[in-house]
Symmetry: none
Subunit: 87 residues, 4 copies
DNA sequence: GATGCGCTTTAAATGC
DNA sequence: GCATTTAAAGCGCATC
């Protein structure tokens, strides 16, 4: 048995494991892509029903935010707006 | 029936529809987030098994490119060469 | 004179012109990149002085917006927030 | 001296500093916008001269890639090949 | 006027 | 924890 053979064997095992990991991830990537497409479809549907998708996205973002952090950000923004004279 | 009532009614209807759209999207966001976490877990697992996650990501990207993007880049390159008069 | 020669000639002229256009654009790209870096530097400096860059960006965006459109967007957002019960 | 006064003072100072930062950024935004318009003009001019602007943009992108990114992609490919045991 | 595409910007993950 | 790098979102344009 040569050093090369040993090396080859261990590398083959690693390659199989690597391939398995990568294929699992690729499968999840596919699922994620499908979901993204579903989301786009819903926005299109909402748009077709006359809704403003931009405002919808803002609402979704607001709902997703932790209320504590959201108020914190809002207060610092108000502070800055005041400092800049933005009404 | 006042104008206000009409306005209120239509807004109520819209509100229900809007809420439905948004909740559908939020549900998909949740699913997408779950998938993202699953992907992270797999990378962690692979890392624990001694694999280099950065290289893995490069591999995944290359495998994704091969199918479509690589060909696309090829065609653009041909266009580019033609534009520069490289036969 | 063959068709090939005619074609070659016109293509040579076009190539020179094309190259000139492209180099002008590339020069402007360089300038634009420099400016982008300058902007980043200022944000870094502001961050080092304790300012919240995210809020700064919001303020800049608000100042850039047409007040009419801004109020319009704000009103539709408020409408949606009310419909969704976002306080 | 009250806490309120201290707070007000620091805020006033911060306001001036904040305003200065933001105005510097806005000035750079203006410059950047001017450049963007210059670029658009060149594309319009090229279009008027019969060139295909989409292909031009592809060319510019490719030329920008050649210097660094292309080599980077090459090196990633080598890494990829090594990971798969392709000698 | 709507829709797809590309770029810019923004949020997030990762490594130092 | 910060700073870089990478994915995602938002935006504008250019087209049909």
């Amino acid at each position: 048995m040569t050093t090369g053979e040993i090396s080859d064997t261990s590398q083959t095992v690693a390659a199989g494991e690597l391939r398995a990991f990568i294929e699992r991830i690729e499968r999840l990537h596919e699922e994620r892509k499908t979901i993204a497409e579903d989301i786009s479809e819903i926005f299109s549907e909402a748009k077709g029903r006359g809704f403003d998708t931009k405002a919808m996205k803002s609402c979704i973002k607001l709902r997703a935010m932790d209320s504590t952090q959201r108020q914190e950000e809002e207060s610092i923004l108000e502070l800055y707006k005041a400092a800049l004279g933005i009404v």
